[in-house]
């Protein structure tokens, strides 16, 4: 029985296989419409989410399965003080697979040790978000046809941005990838990502505070939101939230085939006017999230 807690739980060959399945689902969704008939997905969301939860639910319905669960901690027994271990042990009797989001880092790993059924980490605090990374990888694959040799810029909150950490980890396994890190000094990527991922794997990377300076180099620009819920101090959030706002003017020097990604939701870090630019792929990316989650559910449930 497999779970997905960290994107690095998957080999690059398994990622290729998931991307290929997702592309096949996009091409012929009817073929997959009954693959999970009689199976149940439990969505245990201890923290609010729109896209991730709904894309998991849509994914299971489109595979012919059913969904049960809750969308906030207050409507679960955790409000009464029940531990994650106890909650998932019980859910393991009712469902075939769990997708879990939790504000505490490592909660889905605990769940995978106790549930007795596969657990998918749907985001644990500021730590990991592997299905977002799979979504990002599927989008990059569909837009660029490859992962190797790309220059990928990450911009915004690189400190608490779990999607950034996971995607850097995943991309670091491909050849000749260059990473450009754009953030205010207070929100730089954690030291361990630099030491144990980028430097350890000899990945070329640069850090800067100036987005416009590096814009012409980028094949992918991955924008992120400064997340209010990650700050203990509201004043720090207010000071940093508008650090980078992507506008059509700032895109003037970008490559014509650069691809703009964002895990969404956005607040104001991408101006609405950018949505009409053909390089804006973030809504396409959100759509891809459903397909890659369908592929993942099939894999973890070992459905042929």
């Amino acid at each position: 029985m497999r779970s997905l807690i960290d994107i690095l739980d998957l080999t690059t060959a398994e990622i290729d296989e998931l991307v290929s399945t997702a592309n096949d689902i996009i091409a012929d969704p009817e073929k997959y419409a009954h693959k999970c008939q009689g199976k149940k997905l439990a969505t245990l969301f201890f923290e609010p989410s729109t896209r991730t939860r709904l894309s998991f639910e849509a994914a299971m319905y489109e595979l012919g399965g059913n969904v049960l669960g809750f969308s906030e901690a207050q409507s679960s027994s955790s409000a009464k003080g029940e531990s994650v271990s106890d909650t998932v042990k019980v859910v393991g009797y009712y469902a075939d697979i769990i997708a879990m989001r939790h504000p505490k880092e490592g909660a889905p790993l605990v769940a995978s040790m106790k549930a007795g059924i596969p657990v998918i980490n749907a985001g644990d605090g500021g730590h990991n978000h592997p299905t977002q990374t799979l979504t990002d990888l599927l989008t990059i694959n569909r837009e660029k046809g490859r992962f190797s040799g790309l220059t990928v810029g990450f911009c915004g909150d690189l400190k608490f941005g779990r999607t950034v950490h996971s995607l850097i980890g995943a991309l670091s396994r491909y050849e000749k990838v260059k990473i450009v890190l754009v953030s205010p000094k207070e929100l730089t990527v954690p030291e361990y990502i630099k030491e144990e991922v980028l430097k350890a794997k000899n990945i070329e990377f640069v850090e800067t505070t100036d987005l416009e300076e590096v814009m012409p180099q980028l094949d992918i620009l991955y924008m992120t939101r400064v997340q209010r819920e990650r700050f203990f101090n509201e004043q720090d959030y207010i000071r940093l939230k508008d650090s980078y706002i992507l506008t059509p003017e700032k895109l003037a020097t970008a490559k014509p085939d650069m691809c703009i990604l964002h895990p969404l939701p956005r607040v104001n870090e991408i101006a609405v006017a950018v949505d009409d630019d053909p390089r804006a792929k973030y809504f396409e990316q959100a759509k891809n999230g459903k397909y890659i989650r369908m592929a993942l559910i099939l894999k973890l449930l070992e459905v042929e």
Partner: protein, 140 residues
Amino acid sequence: MTVSPIENGIVLDHITAGKGMELYKVLGLAELDCLVAVINNAYSKKSPTGKKDIIKIDAQIDLDFDIIGYIDPGITVNIIKNGVNTKMEKIDPPETIEGIIKCKNPRCITSVEQELPHIFKLTDRENMVYRCIYCESKAK
């Protein structure tokens, strides 16, 4: 100063100077009934500082090599039986440690679920970096 040789027991040698008392505490040597000597700042040819700590235990006891390997992997352990020394040159740092240190990350699941074991994994052998298996925070 002279500490007499032991016939049956354990000598922890080449302890990094300053770590002798830490090991004495975490290995629970204060609980023992037998003679235990902690020698701080002994002369050392091997150590770059020219100093080392030594612990002599006048009894055969079960030592937790994971704790030793985590705190000071360069230590030499000498197990002496009837005056014969079986030397273990170097203790390798353990791949995982459980229940020795606690994760201090307030965002970690262990901060709210008290019954979970605190487990750390060796992620960088060269720099002796251990990380919490749940949140990946570095052990401090």
